[in-house]
Symmetry: C2
Amino acid sequence: MSNFSISSKNKVMRGPKRASYDVDTVYKIIDDHFLCHIGYVYQKEVIVIPTAYGRVEDKIYIHGSLKNRMLLSLLEAKNANLTITHLDGLVLARSAFHHSANYRSATIFGKVKRVDDPALKMKALKCILNHMINGHWDNIRKPNDKELKATLVLEITMEAASAKIRAEGPNDEPQDYNLPIWAGVIPIKQVALPALSDNLINENIRIPEEVNRYINNNR
Amino acid sequence: MSNFSISSKNKVMRGPKRASYDVDTVYKIIDDHFLCHIGYVYQKEVIVIPTAYGRVEDKIYIHGSLKNRMLLSLLEAKNANLTITHLDGLVLARSAFHHSANYRSATIFGKVKRVDDPALKMKALKCILNHMINGHWDNIRKPNDKELKATLVLEITMEAASAKIRAEGPNDEPQDYNLPIWAGVIPIKQVALPALSDNLINENIRIPEEVNRYINNNR
Protein backbone atom coordinates (compact mmCIF):
# COMPACT_ATOMS: atom_id res chain seq x y z
CA MET A 1 0.00 0.00 0.00
CA SER A 2 1.47 3.34 -1.06
CA ASN A 3 0.12 6.84 -0.65
CA PHE A 4 0.25 10.06 -2.62
CA SER A 5 2.13 12.63 -0.58
CA ILE A 6 -0.13 15.25 0.94
CA SER A 7 0.31 18.96 0.29
CA SER A 8 -1.97 21.98 0.60
CA LYS A 9 -3.00 21.23 -2.99
CA ASN A 10 -4.48 17.77 -2.60
CA LYS A 11 -5.25 17.76 1.11
CA VAL A 12 -8.97 17.20 1.60
CA MET A 13 -10.16 20.05 3.80
CA ARG A 14 -13.88 19.37 4.13
CA GLY A 15 -14.82 15.95 5.54
CA PRO A 16 -11.22 14.70 6.04
CA LYS A 17 -12.55 11.42 7.47
CA ARG A 18 -13.82 10.54 3.98
CA ALA A 19 -10.46 11.24 2.36
CA SER A 20 -7.91 8.75 1.08
CA TYR A 21 -4.48 9.23 -0.46
CA ASP A 22 -3.97 5.53 -1.10
CA VAL A 23 -2.73 4.96 -4.64
CA ASP A 24 -4.80 1.79 -5.19
CA THR A 25 -7.98 3.50 -3.98
CA VAL A 26 -7.40 6.41 -6.38
CA TYR A 27 -6.56 4.05 -9.29
CA LYS A 28 -9.72 2.00 -8.71
CA ILE A 29 -11.92 5.13 -8.93
CA ILE A 30 -10.09 6.14 -12.13
CA ASP A 31 -10.37 2.69 -13.69
CA ASP A 32 -14.09 2.32 -12.97
CA HIS A 33 -14.91 5.23 -15.32
CA PHE A 34 -13.73 6.68 -18.60
CA LEU A 35 -15.15 10.20 -18.37
CA CYS A 36 -13.61 12.94 -16.24
CA HIS A 37 -14.15 16.67 -15.81
CA ILE A 38 -11.07 18.73 -16.48
CA GLY A 39 -10.55 22.42 -15.73
CA TYR A 40 -8.55 24.92 -17.73
CA VAL A 41 -8.07 28.66 -17.84
CA TYR A 42 -9.04 30.65 -20.94
CA GLN A 43 -8.83 34.45 -20.95
CA LYS A 44 -8.41 34.40 -17.17
CA GLU A 45 -11.58 32.37 -16.57
CA VAL A 46 -11.86 28.74 -15.53
CA ILE A 47 -13.76 26.41 -17.87
CA VAL A 48 -14.76 22.84 -16.95
CA ILE A 49 -15.21 20.27 -19.72
CA PRO A 50 -16.08 16.56 -19.70
CA THR A 51 -13.60 14.38 -21.58
CA ALA A 52 -12.64 10.73 -22.06
CA TYR A 53 -9.41 9.38 -20.58
CA GLY A 54 -7.33 6.28 -20.12
CA ARG A 55 -4.74 5.35 -17.48
CA VAL A 56 -1.42 3.46 -17.66
CA GLU A 57 0.32 3.38 -14.28
CA ASP A 58 0.69 7.00 -13.12
CA LYS A 59 -0.11 8.47 -16.55
CA ILE A 60 -3.54 9.69 -17.65
CA TYR A 61 -4.09 10.14 -21.41
CA ILE A 62 -6.61 12.49 -23.01
CA HIS A 63 -7.01 13.39 -26.67
CA GLY A 64 -8.80 15.57 -29.16
CA SER A 65 -8.41 17.62 -32.29
CA LEU A 66 -5.21 19.58 -32.96
CA LYS A 67 -7.15 22.81 -32.40
CA ASN A 68 -8.91 21.70 -29.19
CA ARG A 69 -8.82 24.79 -26.97
CA MET A 70 -8.89 22.80 -23.75
CA LEU A 71 -5.91 20.63 -24.76
CA LEU A 72 -3.91 23.63 -26.04
CA SER A 73 -4.62 25.60 -22.86
CA LEU A 74 -3.50 22.67 -20.67
CA LEU A 75 -0.31 22.32 -22.72
CA GLU A 76 0.41 25.99 -22.19
CA ALA A 77 -0.34 25.79 -18.46
CA LYS A 78 1.83 22.62 -18.17
CA ASN A 79 -0.39 21.49 -15.25
CA ALA A 80 -3.80 19.87 -15.22
CA ASN A 81 -6.40 18.98 -12.66
CA LEU A 82 -9.12 16.48 -13.37
CA THR A 83 -11.84 14.88 -11.32
CA ILE A 84 -13.67 11.60 -11.72
CA THR A 85 -16.96 11.17 -9.87
CA HIS A 86 -19.14 8.12 -9.39
CA LEU A 87 -22.55 8.97 -7.92
CA ASP A 88 -23.64 6.02 -5.77
CA GLY A 89 -26.67 7.26 -3.91
CA LEU A 90 -28.85 10.04 -2.55
CA VAL A 91 -28.61 10.29 1.23
CA LEU A 92 -31.95 11.52 2.56
CA ALA A 93 -31.68 12.51 6.21
CA ARG A 94 -34.34 13.62 8.68
CA SER A 95 -32.98 17.15 8.54
CA ALA A 96 -32.25 19.26 5.45
CA PHE A 97 -28.79 19.99 6.86
CA HIS A 98 -27.69 16.35 6.77
CA HIS A 99 -28.81 15.55 3.25
CA SER A 100 -25.86 14.29 1.24
CA ALA A 101 -24.81 11.94 -1.53
CA ASN A 102 -22.86 8.70 -1.55
CA TYR A 103 -20.06 8.92 -4.07
CA ARG A 104 -16.51 7.97 -4.94
CA SER A 105 -14.44 10.78 -6.42
CA ALA A 106 -10.78 11.23 -7.29
CA THR A 107 -9.08 14.56 -7.92
CA ILE A 108 -5.78 14.38 -9.75
CA PHE A 109 -3.03 16.94 -10.25
CA GLY A 110 -0.44 16.31 -12.91
CA LYS A 111 2.21 17.62 -15.27
CA VAL A 112 1.10 17.86 -18.90
CA LYS A 113 3.17 16.70 -21.87
CA ARG A 114 2.30 16.36 -25.54
CA VAL A 115 2.78 12.84 -26.93
CA ASP A 116 4.54 13.12 -30.30
CA ASP A 117 6.07 9.70 -30.97
CA PRO A 118 3.58 7.87 -33.25
CA ALA A 119 4.03 4.52 -31.47
CA LEU A 120 3.41 6.09 -28.06
CA LYS A 121 0.48 8.05 -29.45
CA MET A 122 -1.03 4.80 -30.76
CA LYS A 123 -0.54 3.19 -27.33
CA ALA A 124 -2.26 6.13 -25.64
CA LEU A 125 -5.24 5.93 -28.01
CA LYS A 126 -5.48 2.19 -27.40
CA CYS A 127 -5.48 2.87 -23.67
CA ILE A 128 -8.28 5.48 -23.96
CA LEU A 129 -10.44 3.20 -26.11
CA ASN A 130 -9.90 0.12 -23.95
CA HIS A 131 -10.75 2.21 -20.88
CA MET A 132 -14.24 2.59 -22.37
CA ILE A 133 -14.65 -1.11 -23.37
CA ASN A 134 -11.86 -3.38 -22.21
CA GLY A 135 -10.25 -5.21 -25.15
CA HIS A 136 -12.38 -3.55 -27.86
CA TRP A 137 -9.28 -2.00 -29.53
CA ASP A 138 -8.53 -5.38 -31.10
CA ASN A 139 -11.96 -5.46 -32.79
CA ILE A 140 -11.81 -2.19 -34.71
CA ARG A 141 -9.89 -0.37 -37.42
CA LYS A 142 -6.83 1.32 -35.93
CA PRO A 143 -6.05 4.97 -36.68
CA ASN A 144 -4.24 5.50 -39.99
CA ASP A 145 -1.38 8.01 -40.42
CA LYS A 146 -3.71 10.84 -41.36
CA GLU A 147 -5.97 10.25 -38.35
CA LEU A 148 -3.00 9.90 -36.02
CA LYS A 149 -1.58 13.21 -37.26
CA ALA A 150 -4.97 14.89 -36.78
CA THR A 151 -5.12 13.80 -33.13
CA LEU A 152 -3.52 15.66 -30.25
CA VAL A 153 -2.67 13.37 -27.34
CA LEU A 154 -1.67 14.66 -23.90
CA GLU A 155 0.00 12.67 -21.15
CA ILE A 156 -0.72 13.80 -17.61
CA THR A 157 1.77 12.41 -15.09
CA MET A 158 0.06 12.22 -11.71
CA GLU A 159 1.94 14.21 -9.09
CA ALA A 160 -0.70 14.44 -6.40
CA ALA A 161 -4.15 13.02 -5.94
CA SER A 162 -6.82 12.41 -3.39
CA ALA A 163 -9.93 10.29 -3.22
CA LYS A 164 -13.09 11.05 -1.34
CA ILE A 165 -15.60 8.34 -0.58
CA ARG A 166 -18.95 8.46 1.18
CA ALA A 167 -20.73 5.12 1.47
CA GLU A 168 -23.15 5.13 4.37
CA GLY A 169 -26.62 6.09 5.55
CA PRO A 170 -27.75 9.44 6.91
CA ASN A 171 -26.04 10.91 9.98
CA ASP A 172 -28.72 12.89 11.73
CA GLU A 173 -28.57 14.99 14.89
CA PRO A 174 -29.22 12.82 17.98
CA GLN A 175 -32.47 14.63 18.85
CA ASP A 176 -33.85 14.17 15.32
CA TYR A 177 -34.02 10.36 15.49
CA ASN A 178 -37.32 10.61 17.34
CA LEU A 179 -39.00 12.73 14.68
CA PRO A 180 -41.68 11.03 12.58
CA ILE A 181 -39.60 11.62 9.43
CA TRP A 182 -38.39 8.97 7.02
CA ALA A 183 -34.65 8.75 6.29
CA GLY A 184 -32.62 6.46 4.10
CA VAL A 185 -30.59 6.08 0.94
CA ILE A 186 -31.66 5.82 -2.69
CA PRO A 187 -28.87 3.84 -4.37
CA ILE A 188 -27.92 5.27 -7.77
CA LYS A 189 -26.22 3.25 -10.46
CA GLN A 190 -25.00 3.87 -13.96
CA VAL A 191 -26.18 0.98 -16.13
CA ALA A 192 -25.67 -0.18 -19.71
CA LEU A 193 -28.71 -1.19 -21.77
CA PRO A 194 -28.61 -3.76 -24.61
CA ALA A 195 -26.43 -2.64 -27.54
CA LEU A 196 -28.15 -1.06 -30.56
CA SER A 197 -26.39 -2.17 -33.75
CA ASP A 198 -25.79 0.48 -36.43
CA ASN A 199 -28.54 0.37 -39.12
CA LEU A 200 -25.93 -0.24 -41.77
CA ILE A 201 -24.49 -3.33 -40.10
CA ASN A 202 -24.51 -6.47 -42.21
CA GLU A 203 -26.63 -8.96 -40.31
CA ASN A 204 -23.82 -11.54 -40.34
CA ILE A 205 -21.73 -9.31 -38.09
CA ARG A 206 -22.20 -10.25 -34.45
CA ILE A 207 -21.82 -8.01 -31.41
CA PRO A 208 -18.25 -8.58 -30.14
CA GLU A 209 -17.70 -10.58 -26.97
CA GLU A 210 -16.02 -7.55 -25.31
CA VAL A 211 -19.12 -5.41 -25.88
CA ASN A 212 -21.44 -8.08 -24.46
CA ARG A 213 -19.14 -8.55 -21.47
CA TYR A 214 -19.23 -4.79 -20.76
CA ILE A 215 -23.03 -4.78 -20.91
CA ASN A 216 -23.29 -7.85 -18.65
CA ASN A 217 -20.92 -6.30 -16.12
CA ASN A 218 -22.87 -3.03 -16.08
CA ARG A 219 -26.48 -4.16 -16.01
CA MET B 1 -37.41 30.57 -27.69
CA SER B 2 -34.58 32.74 -26.41
CA ASN B 3 -30.85 32.25 -26.69
CA PHE B 4 -27.83 33.02 -24.58
CA SER B 5 -25.70 35.56 -26.45
CA ILE B 6 -22.57 34.01 -27.93
CA SER B 7 -19.10 35.27 -27.07
CA SER B 8 -15.61 33.79 -27.33
CA LYS B 9 -16.22 32.45 -23.82
CA ASN B 10 -19.22 30.22 -24.42
CA LYS B 11 -18.93 29.65 -28.17
CA VAL B 12 -18.58 25.92 -28.81
CA MET B 13 -15.45 25.53 -30.94
CA ARG B 14 -15.26 21.76 -31.43
CA GLY B 15 -18.30 20.14 -33.04
CA PRO B 16 -20.33 23.36 -33.44
CA LYS B 17 -23.17 21.39 -35.06
CA ARG B 18 -23.83 19.79 -31.67
CA ALA B 19 -23.99 23.15 -29.90
CA SER B 20 -27.05 24.98 -28.63
CA TYR B 21 -27.43 28.34 -26.93
CA ASP B 22 -31.17 27.95 -26.46
CA VAL B 23 -32.15 28.86 -22.90
CA ASP B 24 -34.77 26.09 -22.58
CA THR B 25 -32.31 23.45 -23.82
CA VAL B 26 -29.71 24.57 -21.27
CA TYR B 27 -32.30 24.72 -18.46
CA LYS B 28 -33.54 21.18 -19.25
CA ILE B 29 -30.00 19.78 -18.96
CA ILE B 30 -29.57 21.63 -15.66
CA ASP B 31 -32.91 20.48 -14.27
CA ASP B 32 -32.37 16.82 -15.14
CA HIS B 33 -29.44 16.58 -12.70
CA PHE B 34 -28.44 17.92 -9.29
CA LEU B 35 -24.67 17.37 -9.42
CA CYS B 36 -22.29 19.60 -11.36
CA HIS B 37 -18.53 19.97 -11.63
CA ILE B 38 -17.25 23.40 -10.76
CA GLY B 39 -13.76 24.79 -11.30
CA TYR B 40 -11.88 27.23 -9.11
CA VAL B 41 -8.36 28.55 -8.82
CA TYR B 42 -6.31 27.91 -5.68
CA GLN B 43 -2.67 28.98 -5.48
CA LYS B 44 -2.68 29.56 -9.25
CA GLU B 45 -3.89 26.05 -10.05
CA VAL B 46 -7.31 24.99 -11.26
CA ILE B 47 -9.22 22.50 -9.09
CA VAL B 48 -12.41 20.75 -10.21
CA ILE B 49 -14.93 19.58 -7.59
CA PRO B 50 -18.33 17.88 -7.82
CA THR B 51 -21.08 19.70 -5.95
CA ALA B 52 -24.88 19.76 -5.63
CA TYR B 53 -26.88 22.66 -7.05
CA GLY B 54 -30.38 23.98 -7.58
CA ARG B 55 -31.78 26.40 -10.15
CA VAL B 56 -34.41 29.16 -9.94
CA GLU B 57 -34.78 31.00 -13.26
CA ASP B 58 -31.30 32.25 -14.23
CA LYS B 59 -29.80 31.64 -10.77
CA ILE B 60 -27.85 28.57 -9.74
CA TYR B 61 -27.43 27.95 -6.00
CA ILE B 62 -24.62 25.98 -4.37
CA HIS B 63 -23.80 25.62 -0.70
CA GLY B 64 -21.34 24.28 1.83
CA SER B 65 -19.54 24.99 5.07
CA LEU B 66 -18.43 28.52 5.95
CA LYS B 67 -14.82 27.40 5.47
CA ASN B 68 -15.35 25.59 2.16
CA ARG B 69 -12.30 26.50 0.09
CA MET B 70 -14.10 26.13 -3.23
CA LEU B 71 -16.93 28.47 -2.20
CA LEU B 72 -14.54 31.04 -0.72
CA SER B 73 -12.35 30.96 -3.83
CA LEU B 74 -15.36 31.48 -6.10
CA LEU B 75 -16.52 34.40 -3.96
CA GLU B 76 -13.11 35.97 -4.28
CA ALA B 77 -12.99 35.36 -8.05
CA LYS B 78 -16.55 36.74 -8.41
CA ASN B 79 -17.03 34.46 -11.46
CA ALA B 80 -17.82 30.79 -11.68
CA ASN B 81 -17.97 28.17 -14.38
CA LEU B 82 -19.79 24.91 -13.88
CA THR B 83 -20.63 21.99 -16.10
CA ILE B 84 -23.42 19.44 -15.94
CA THR B 85 -22.99 16.24 -17.92
CA HIS B 86 -25.43 13.41 -18.64
CA LEU B 87 -23.75 10.39 -20.19
CA ASP B 88 -26.29 8.73 -22.51
CA GLY B 89 -24.28 6.15 -24.42
CA LEU B 90 -21.03 4.75 -25.72
CA VAL B 91 -20.71 5.21 -29.48
CA LEU B 92 -18.69 2.32 -30.88
CA ALA B 93 -17.64 3.00 -34.46
CA ARG B 94 -15.86 0.79 -36.99
CA SER B 95 -12.74 2.92 -36.61
CA ALA B 96 -11.00 3.97 -33.40
CA PHE B 97 -11.03 7.57 -34.67
CA HIS B 98 -14.84 7.80 -34.70
CA HIS B 99 -15.47 6.36 -31.26
CA SER B 100 -17.46 8.82 -29.21
CA ALA B 101 -20.10 9.16 -26.51
CA ASN B 102 -23.70 10.31 -26.57
CA TYR B 103 -24.24 12.97 -23.94
CA ARG B 104 -26.01 16.17 -22.97
CA SER B 105 -23.82 18.75 -21.30
CA ALA B 106 -24.27 22.36 -20.26
CA THR B 107 -21.46 24.76 -19.42
CA ILE B 108 -22.48 27.84 -17.47
CA PHE B 109 -20.65 31.09 -16.75
CA GLY B 110 -21.98 33.34 -14.04
CA LYS B 111 -21.41 36.10 -11.52
CA VAL B 112 -21.06 34.90 -7.93
CA LYS B 113 -22.78 36.50 -4.95
CA ARG B 114 -23.06 35.42 -1.33
CA VAL B 115 -26.63 34.99 -0.09
CA ASP B 116 -26.91 36.61 3.35
CA ASP B 117 -30.60 37.26 3.92
CA PRO B 118 -31.88 34.29 6.01
CA ALA B 119 -35.17 34.03 4.08
CA LEU B 120 -33.38 33.96 0.72
CA LYS B 121 -30.85 31.51 2.11
CA MET B 122 -33.68 29.22 3.21
CA LYS B 123 -35.23 29.50 -0.27
CA ALA B 124 -31.91 28.58 -1.88
CA LEU B 125 -31.49 25.52 0.37
CA LYS B 126 -35.07 24.46 -0.43
CA CYS B 127 -34.25 24.79 -4.12
CA ILE B 128 -31.06 22.66 -3.82
CA LEU B 129 -32.85 19.93 -1.85
CA ASN B 130 -35.89 19.84 -4.15
CA HIS B 131 -33.55 19.65 -7.14
CA MET B 132 -32.41 16.28 -5.76
CA ILE B 133 -35.94 14.98 -4.95
CA ASN B 134 -38.76 17.22 -6.11
CA GLY B 135 -41.02 18.21 -3.21
CA HIS B 136 -39.01 16.42 -0.51
CA TRP B 137 -38.31 19.69 1.35
CA ASP B 138 -41.84 19.56 2.78
CA ASN B 139 -41.16 16.14 4.34
CA ILE B 140 -38.11 16.97 6.42
CA ARG B 141 -36.88 19.12 9.28
CA LYS B 142 -35.89 22.56 7.97
CA PRO B 143 -32.56 24.12 8.94
CA ASN B 144 -32.59 25.85 12.34
CA ASP B 145 -30.85 29.18 12.98
CA LYS B 146 -27.59 27.53 13.97
CA GLU B 147 -27.51 25.33 10.85
CA LEU B 148 -28.48 28.26 8.64
CA LYS B 149 -25.63 30.34 10.08
CA ALA B 150 -23.18 27.47 9.55
CA THR B 151 -24.07 27.25 5.84
CA LEU B 152 -22.53 29.37 3.14
CA VAL B 153 -24.84 29.80 0.14
CA LEU B 154 -23.70 31.23 -3.18
CA GLU B 155 -25.93 32.52 -5.97
CA ILE B 156 -24.52 32.26 -9.47
CA THR B 157 -26.37 34.46 -11.96
CA MET B 158 -26.02 32.93 -15.41
CA GLU B 159 -24.42 35.33 -17.86
CA ALA B 160 -23.48 32.95 -20.63
CA ALA B 161 -24.04 29.28 -21.28
CA SER B 162 -23.91 26.67 -23.95
CA ALA B 163 -25.24 23.17 -24.34
CA LYS B 164 -23.69 20.36 -26.31
CA ILE B 165 -25.70 17.33 -27.27
CA ARG B 166 -24.74 14.19 -29.17
CA ALA B 167 -27.57 11.70 -29.66
CA GLU B 168 -26.88 9.47 -32.64
CA GLY B 169 -25.11 6.39 -33.91
CA PRO B 170 -21.53 6.13 -35.15
CA ASN B 171 -20.39 8.28 -38.09
CA ASP B 172 -17.76 6.20 -39.85
CA GLU B 173 -15.64 7.00 -42.90
CA PRO B 174 -17.50 6.00 -46.13
CA GLN B 175 -14.93 3.31 -47.04
CA ASP B 176 -15.19 1.69 -43.57
CA TYR B 177 -18.84 0.66 -43.92
CA ASN B 178 -17.76 -2.41 -45.89
CA LEU B 179 -15.41 -3.68 -43.20
CA PRO B 180 -16.50 -6.78 -41.26
CA ILE B 181 -16.55 -4.77 -38.01
CA TRP B 182 -19.50 -4.32 -35.68
CA ALA B 183 -20.61 -0.77 -34.83
CA GLY B 184 -23.39 0.57 -32.68
CA VAL B 185 -24.35 2.30 -29.47
CA ILE B 186 -24.48 1.03 -25.89
CA PRO B 187 -27.12 3.20 -24.21
CA ILE B 188 -26.07 4.31 -20.70
CA LYS B 189 -28.53 5.36 -18.05
CA GLN B 190 -28.34 6.52 -14.48
CA VAL B 191 -30.95 4.62 -12.49
CA ALA B 192 -32.33 4.67 -8.96
CA LEU B 193 -32.68 1.39 -7.05
CA PRO B 194 -35.29 0.75 -4.34
CA ALA B 195 -34.83 2.98 -1.28
CA LEU B 196 -33.02 1.56 1.75
CA SER B 197 -34.61 2.85 4.93
CA ASP B 198 -32.29 3.91 7.76
CA ASN B 199 -31.84 1.10 10.33
CA LEU B 200 -33.15 3.37 13.05
CA ILE B 201 -36.43 4.13 11.28
CA ASN B 202 -39.53 3.28 13.24
CA GLU B 203 -41.40 0.72 11.16
CA ASN B 204 -44.55 2.85 11.16
CA ILE B 205 -42.80 5.51 9.10
CA ARG B 206 -43.47 5.02 5.41
CA ILE B 207 -41.27 6.06 2.48
CA PRO B 208 -42.61 9.45 1.33
CA GLU B 209 -44.56 9.65 -1.92
CA GLU B 210 -41.95 12.07 -3.38
CA VAL B 211 -39.17 9.52 -2.81
CA ASN B 212 -41.18 6.72 -4.42
CA ARG B 213 -42.04 8.98 -7.35
CA TYR B 214 -38.36 9.80 -7.88
CA ILE B 215 -37.46 6.10 -7.89
CA ASN B 216 -40.31 5.24 -10.28
CA ASN B 217 -39.26 8.02 -12.65
CA ASN B 218 -35.63 6.89 -12.62
CA ARG B 219 -35.87 3.13 -12.88
